[in-house]
């Protein structure tokens, strides 16, 4: 099935829906207070075109987020973004707190509820900090300025003697103060902001920029927080789906007699969908296991044919998932690769592969669905509540306003929960049962029926002169994706192309940092190869080809902290580095590995990562993200691999699919470069891209073995490359 390609994500800021609540309805949601709404600036820009009149009418509806300040001084922030561990509930609250001058603990973040929150495309692409964060800062700053204006008439005196602080306004000359809530005087005020108000510069931040603790941390250590899978509704029943024997299978015959006669069990059969509902999960699982379904499945590509298939089955232009075209459209060319390569004195040619891997979020997909007449409410864990609402609207032929999707803070996603499978299945079961139903996928279902990070093949050719300059770069990525495909190094002659594959064998979707992991693995390993071919130090060779000072700075910072070049590699100990730039973040990673000559086991001993994404909003939260990305990235780098044959996953369990554990943990050191003079960017993804090539390069430095396939050492180090 086609969905969710990278292109779709890259254009994620396109506003495709207008928010259906009008100004009057919006006010009904609240009592007295000040409501400040951000109007989507793009909607205003677009209004210069032919849709001008329509746009002008729609402007009040194109609300992207809003803040409400109540008479009791409590602040409520509404955002369609979802929290799933990236700490945005805290970091967004900090930014509002900073601009509005209210304590963090007076702010309530209402997030990812399609009825209460303005439309949002989804929480992905590291866009929360640069987009939603900036927008909320704008709104909060506007609200602050309005409140100071209001205070001017109450407190008198010169406006520039008035200072907003701690939820109120003080006249510095008279020392008189008034709280925000008192200024509102029982009125309901609404302000739309099309323009960018003056923001507090990051150099002057006192709340943003600090390690504010996770705002609801206590609820997580007590088990009090309710994830979607923890929700309960009166009279709720439990669902179980009967899965096909293989991908693309259709139902040939069904014998559900025994389940139909079981007490309290409802069998649901709708096309190829078969499921049961029962009073408890154990009964539902038992009833589902008695159903005899015969499936007809087509023959499918198996793992051993994967890489030749990816290379040999190009997608036609515009036919790739999500409309991502292949062919000329994906070529980046500069200078003349062919002639530069022909005359190069040192050449390398190599092929890299990356395997399919699974996100394996610890909370598998889950939903609770409840129908009231033709109105449907679904609690589910997803990165895209509004897209899941649309899936439900389509599946059940409902008007949009009849469907509400609520996303409680979710048990992680990593790009793996863009879709609403469990929500749709659960709503179908609940419709048949006439009662609320909970459906939680098993680990095996999550491993099999969610989607995968795309596998890929990457061909690299590089040519250098003996003076140490890289002059020719040819790079072809088959199927894995175009994210970060362009080289950040100065190379005069380049040809870079993404080749999407037609009907790849497994269902593919986004994964933390998308193909930036694969492309950094191939590029940074190749840079290492060229450096060694030239007899140059890998750091020195890179720096020679970097003109972006921020990229240079992360490499130099990581290398310094790591002690790059101070220790000579031995057959049992190696050192490697890698880095790059993507989605506004600069990263450089140094790794030290230990190789056991007897067992051929490889262990990552120490990792240093330097990171720059502009001004740091929460240093502790940011470090947590970076450490976690390194840990998670080690899985795909070293041993994660989905095995499959003929439409079936062969290792759909943690006992068979190895993820990083405590014993894999290296010593991790993070260096944050806090660029207060730059724009803020997100950090949920790019910190993952350096670890695989840094480890691969470290293995090479110890052993001389160049590993060009992810995962690199699923069974320990091979005898040769």
């Amino acid at each position: 099935m086609s969905f969710d390609s990278e292109l779709l994500q890259q254009t994620a800021d396109r506003l495709t829906h207008s928010f259906a609540v009008n100004r009057r309805e919006l006010l009904k949601l609240f009592g007295a207070g000040l409501m400040v709404c951000a109007v989507d600036a793009r909607a205003l820009q677009e209004s210069g075109g032919r849709r001008r009149n329509e746009e002008q009418e729609r402007v009040p509806h194109d609300v992207a987020s809003w803040i409400h300040i109540a008479e009791d001084n409590n602040v409520t922030v509404f955002s369609g973004k979802a929290e799933m561990g990236q700490n945005i509930r805290t970091s967004l609250a900090q930014q509002v707190s900073e601009e509005l001058h209210v304590p963090v603990d007076t702010i309530t973040m209402v997030m990812a509820d399609t009825e209460l929150c303005p439309f949002d495309m989804g929480t992905f692409g590291s866009r929360t900090t640069p987009q939603m964060g900036t927008e909320l800062r704008n709104i909060a700053a506007t609200a602050r300025e309005m409140l100071v204006d209001m205070a001017a008439s109450k407190l008198g005196g010169n406006r520039n003697q008035l200072v907003a602080a701690n939820g109120g306004v003080t006249n510095n000359a008279t020392r008189q103060s008034i709280r925000y809530g008192e200024l509102l005087n029982g009125r309901q005020l609404v302000q739309m902001i099309p323009d960018d108000p003056p923001l507090i510069s990051p150099e002057k931040w006192t709340i943003a920029g600090k390690a504010v603790p996770k705002v609801d941390g206590r609820e997580f250590v007590t088990g009090e927080h309710k994830y979607a899978s923890d929700m309960s509704r009166p009279g709720m029943l439990y669902g179980k789906v009967v899965r096909p024997s293989a991908y693309h299978a259709t139902l040939a015959s069904l014998d559900a007699d025994e389940a139909q006669h079981a007490s309290g069990v409802t069998v649901v059969h709708d096309g190829d969908f078969v499921g049961v509902v029962a009073p408890d999960l154990t009964s539902a699982t038992r009833a589902a296991s008695t159903i005899r379904a015969q499936w007809k499945a087509p023959q499918q590509i198996s793992e051993k044919e994967l890489y030749s298939y990816l290379r040999e089955k190009p997608a036609n232009q515009g036919q790739h998932a999500g409309g991502e075209g292949g062919g000329r459209a994906n070529i980046h060319e500069k200078g003349s690769f062919d002639s530069a390569f022909a005359s190069a004195e040192k050449k390398i040619e190599a092929t890299y592969t990356v395997a399919y891997i699974q996100h394996a979020p610890l909370e598998p997909r889950a939903a609770v669905a409840e129908w009231n007449g033709d109105k449907l409410t679904v609690w589910t864990g997803t990165q895209r509540p509004f897209a899941v609402r649309d899936e439900l609207v389509q599946a059940f032929h409902l008007p949009e306003q009849n469907v509400r999707v609520i996303v409680p803070d979710t048990g992680s996603a990593y790009g793996g929960k863009h879709t609403g499978e469990a929500a749709v299945e659960c709503a179908r079961l609940a419709k048949a049962a006439g009662k609320p139903v909970k459906l939680q996928w098993t680990r095996e279902e999550e491993f099999t029926w969610a989607y995968f990070r795309p596998a890929g093949v990457i061909d690299v050719k590089a040519g250098a002169r003996s003076d140490g300059s890289l002059v020719a770069w040819d790079y072809h990525n088959y199927n894995s994706g175009p994210a970060a495909i362009n080289t950040p190094y100065d190379v005069p002659n380049q040809r870079i192309q993404f080749h999407p594959t037609e009907n790849p064998p497994l269902r593919q979707g986004s994964y933390r940092s998308l193909a930036a992991t694969a492309n950094h693995f191939a590029r940074e390993s190749s840079m290492d190869e060229v450096a060694h071919a030239l007899g140059l130090d890998p750091l020195e060779f890179r720096l020679k080809h970097i003109s972006d000072p921020r990229l240079r700075a992360v490499f130099e910072t990581a290398a310094k902290r790591f002690g790059w070049g101070q220790q000579k590699p031995t057959p049992e100990r190696g050192f490697g580095l890698a880095g790059g730039f993507e989605k506004g973040g600069y990263v450089a990673t140094c790794a030290e590995v230990a190789v056991d000559p007897a067992s051929r086991a490889v262990r990552v001993v120490r990792v240093v990562e330097a990171w720059d994404c502009g001004p740091v909003v929460n240093p502790n939260g940011l470090k947590n993200q970076i450490e976690g990305a390194i840990m998670q990235g080690m899985g795909g780098a070293l041993f994660e691999d989905v095995h499959f044959a003929d439409g079936r996953v062969l290792n759909p369990r943690f006992a068979l699919y190895r993820v990083p554990r405590f014993r894999d943990m290296p010593k991790i050191e993070v260096e944050l470069i806090d660029r207060k003079d730059e724009k803020p960017f997100g950090a949920g993804e790019t910190p993952i891209v350096g670890i695989a090539p840094a480890v691969g390069n470290a293995i090479f430095s110890a052993t001389g073995i160049r590993l060009r396939s992810l995962p690199m050492v699923p069974q320990g180090l091979p005898e040769r490359d």
């Binding site: 561990g85 927080h225 394996a360 610890l362 990593y414 939260g621 405590f662 943990m665």
Partner: protein, 156 residues
């Protein structure tokens, strides 16, 4: 279905459940003690960890009917008199979580570990916790939290 008497967090609970119903589902679905999580159903991830007579146990691998009369502690039962258990407090202070779905299981595994070994070395912490998965990769912080809890007398 049969009636099972369970001693959970110091209180007696009578539940009606199937003979082969796992403790995990009895806790979550019949007693609404949802702090105990499903992660894999095969004892590989530790999200469902509870204490049974003080020992960290995978509740997805134990029939509820088999632990009748034993002393069961879930994450909801760790806090005493409004005061967090030292291990909970240490997790909070080290911010040893991201999505936190693994956190209750991590905390109970750590409590079990400290009961058996009040002053573990880092190596012993890693060995003792290796059966618990954190997909967000907060392992270094969890080790730091357990170290901190041990120093604060978390073996209680």
């Amino acid at each position: 279905m049969r009636e099972i008497v369970l001693n959970i967090n110091g209180a007696e609970h009578r539940v009606s459940a199937a003979e082969d119903e796992m403790l995990l589902y009895v806790l979550r679905d019949r007693l609404n003690l949802t702090g105990t999580k499903y992660g894999c159903g095969e004892g590989q991830c530790g999200a469902c960890t509870v204490l049974i007579d003080g020992r960290a146990t995978r509740s997805c691998q134990v029939h509820a009917s088999a632990v009748s009369g034993r002393k069961i502690t879930t994450i909801e039962g760790l806090e005493a008199d409004g005061k967090l258990h030292p291990v909970q407090q240490a997790f909070l202070e080290e911010e040893a979580f991201q999505c936190s779905y693994c956190t209750p299981g991590m905390i109970l595994s750590a409590v079990g570990l400290l009961k058996a070994n009040p002053k573990p070395s880092d190596e012993e912490i890693i060995r003792g916790m290796n059966g618990n998965i954190c997909r967000c990769g907060t392992y270094p912080r969890i080790v730091a939290a357990i170290r901190r809890a041990a120093e604060a007398g978390g073996a209680q």
